[in-house]
């Protein structure tokens, strides 16, 4: 089982991606997607030593929904900043101490931080315990750090375990 299907989650994702790609659901395409879902993780398993754990996958739905809303609202905010007076921006680097330890989880958090406007992941410390975040305009770096941790890191920690 572990040898032929090393990453069941990735297999399911690839099969689903295939159905999206061909833009139709038929028996033939489901079978082909399933075959790809088995073949690709098997052939690339050397690149994926760890299997990402999803402890509470159902919470992911709410997380993604909130993320989309945040992206929408904050985009308007950035549009206002950009069209306003860019010279008055207060860009700052913020060091966010991480509680997540898993590489996959940190990657997700860094991407989320980059996608939510106003903040951008710029670097990660060599010991992977601090994320360097660049904020476009902030008066209170501590509050931004706390918000990232409470709003985006804590739910990820809960979902991924």
């Amino acid at each position: 089982m572990d040898r032929w299907l090393p990453h069941p989650l990735m297999s399911a994702t690839i099969a689903l991606l295939w159905l999206f790609l061909v833009n139709q659901v038929s028996v033939a395409q489901v079978l082909l997607g399933g075959a790809l879902g088995i073949a690709v993780p098997y052939l690339t398993s050397a690149f994926w030593p760890q299997r990402p754990r999803l402890r509470r996958p159902w919470l992911l739905v709410g997380y993604v929904a909130r993320l989309l809303v945040d992206i929408l609202i904050a985009n308007l905010e950035v549009a206002r900043l950009v069209l306003g007076a860019p010279q008055r921006l207060r860009p700052t680097f913020i060091e966010v101490p991480l509680e997540l330890t898993d590489d996959f989880a940190i990657t997700l958090l860094a991407s989320v931080v980059s996608l939510t406007p106003g903040t951008l992941s710029a670097d990660i410390a060599a010991d992977r315990a601090t994320l360097l975040v660049h904020a476009l305009d902030t008066a209170d770096p501590v509050a931004v750090c706390a918000e990232i941790k409470a709003r985006y890191e804590a739910p990820l920690k809960e979902i991924l375990g």
């Binding site: 950009v82 991407s111 980059s114 951008l120 670097d123 360097l132 660049h134």
Partner: protein, 107 residues
């Protein structure tokens, strides 16, 4: 007619955000602030255009057209990574910036 109105609406919204992203690229003061434009406004800009595409093609032919979702997915996966690599390179090269880079990240 209604479909056309909705599609036009999403196209215009998407195009506006893409435009704002580009204006940001031109107007923002330094390298790191400029990085914010393409990763943010552009994702929403593309999102608007993709929603328009989904509605248009779903209405025109039978069945739902959803392969646009893949474009959004891959964009959301790749945009933060390219931004992060650009930022890393900029820190490494010590580009002039208005925000101070914490010393432990200056390598």
């Amino acid at each position: 007619m209604l479909i056309e109105l909705i599609v036009s609406f999403f196209l215009l919204v998407g195009a506006s955000f893409a435009l704002v992203g580009s204006i940001g690229l031109a107007r923002l003061p330094d390298f790191f602030t400029r990085l914010h434009g393409p990763t943010k406004a552009t994702t929403l800009g593309i999102g608007g255009v993709l929603i328009a595409s989904v509605i248009y093609f779903s209405a025109r032919s039978a069945g739902l057209s959803l392969h646009e979702a893949l474009i959004a997915l891959f964009l959301f996966m790749t945009a933060p990574i390219s931004a992060m690599l650009l930022a890393k390179a900029a820190i490494h090269r010590k580009v002039t910036t208005r925000s101070r880079v914490p010393p432990r990240f200056e390598r």
